[in-house]
Amino acid sequence: MSSPKKALLLVGSPRGRDSSSEALGGYLLNRLKEHGMETGKVYIHPSMLTERGQAEMLQAIDRSDLLILAFPLYVDSLPAPVIAALETIAEHRRTKVRKEQKLVAITNSGFPEASQMDTALAICRRFASETKIGWAGGLAIGGGEALHGRSLAEAGWMARNPRKALDMAATALAEDRPVPKETVDIAAKPLIPRWMYVFVANRWFKNEAKKNGAQDKLYDRPYQA
């Protein structure tokens, strides 16, 4: 396969443009643009709601050489609409011969350990294998929720490792190479120390509950048997 020319970002977060998935995937997309690639973007959740949306998503995929799947970790796996999209893409590729393509996955979660995303990335890799799409690698950003929709530039010092990893990934992908292991390791480094992440997250949840007037209900058990 010659060097990829068109890269498509598939944003797999229900928060869409305000998501960490968009921030991470969008950063990589911009770097690939600087490497001379054409770029495009599809939001999976709204696309999967209608037949037309699904058809347009499949057309965009068919036109692309490199697929970037960016999604948050939901219950140890991919969000349901993203799984539904992968099922749809797999079926689409089964019925027609498709051109050679590559897939890179970027996932983030509310847990600081990147290893918690191993299973989700194993599913992405398996999807690539079943659909005969080349696997270009998976990046797991531990504690990516801390970005909370901010761009990697806006996140400043905290996002230094994701920026470095995605810069390296862009260079490799633009040269049609898989993401190097060193890049995966850099991406896996926590955005902030684990103790600090836990402290900030717990305080954030309490503050949000207070803003909503729900601070006295935080421990409610509405479905207690």
């Binding site: 977060s13 229900p14 928060r15 998501s19 959740h45 948050p72 939901y74 219950v75 140890d76 796996s77 991919l78 969000p79 349901a80 609409p81 799984i83 539904a84 992968l86 099922e87 797999a90 509310g110 847990f111 600081p112 350990e113 918690q116 299973t119 194993a122 599913i123 398996r126 999807f127 079943e130 684990r194 992440y197 836990v198 997250a201 717990n202 949840f205 949000e208 509950a209 803003k211 909503n212 729900a214 209900k217 935080l218 421990y219 409610d220 058990r221 509405p222 479905y223 207690q224 048997a225």
Partner: protein, 196 residues
Amino acid sequence: MESETYMKALILNGSRKGDRFLDAASDVLSHTLKGAGYEVDPLILRDLKIASCKGCFDCWVKTPGVCSTDDEGRLVPMKMMQSDLMIYLTPIIIGGFSSELKKGLDRITGALLPFLTNVNGEIHHPFRYKKYPKILGIGILPQPDEEAERIFRTLVNRNALNIHDKGHSTVVYRNDSHERVAEKIKALLAEAGAAK
């Protein structure tokens, strides 16, 4: 926990429409559970109106424990918390759960508290409730597939770890006889300490 305490079994059926083998496996599962003394509550997720999780955290910080989307997705955590066993029954799709099963599971987040805590060296959410059901997974494959089975079993275990427990799973093949399916289910219940 003694097996006598397991009395209610929730089946989260993640089958696709027209999957006769999985429907038959569901019947075998219900029959086997009833034989073991369970009250069985089968939830066929494809027949329910369940919107996808919005990632809004309302179930943590606005209406704690309850999803702000008022649809049949609320049944999943409600029935979960009223069960002793929660059994995933799903075709194994690219190693994981079907999107039908996953759309239900994505709506149970509020069953845990939002906060983060260390559980055996890994960060997880603390319990909202005193007691959670055992999680069992039954995956359906056309034939043996080492990688897909490994991913599936790991995923069930990871889900169980969220409630600080150990998961249990089995894989059924589409050419298994009903008797063989029943044997596998009985072995699964025994492994989980949930058989009479």
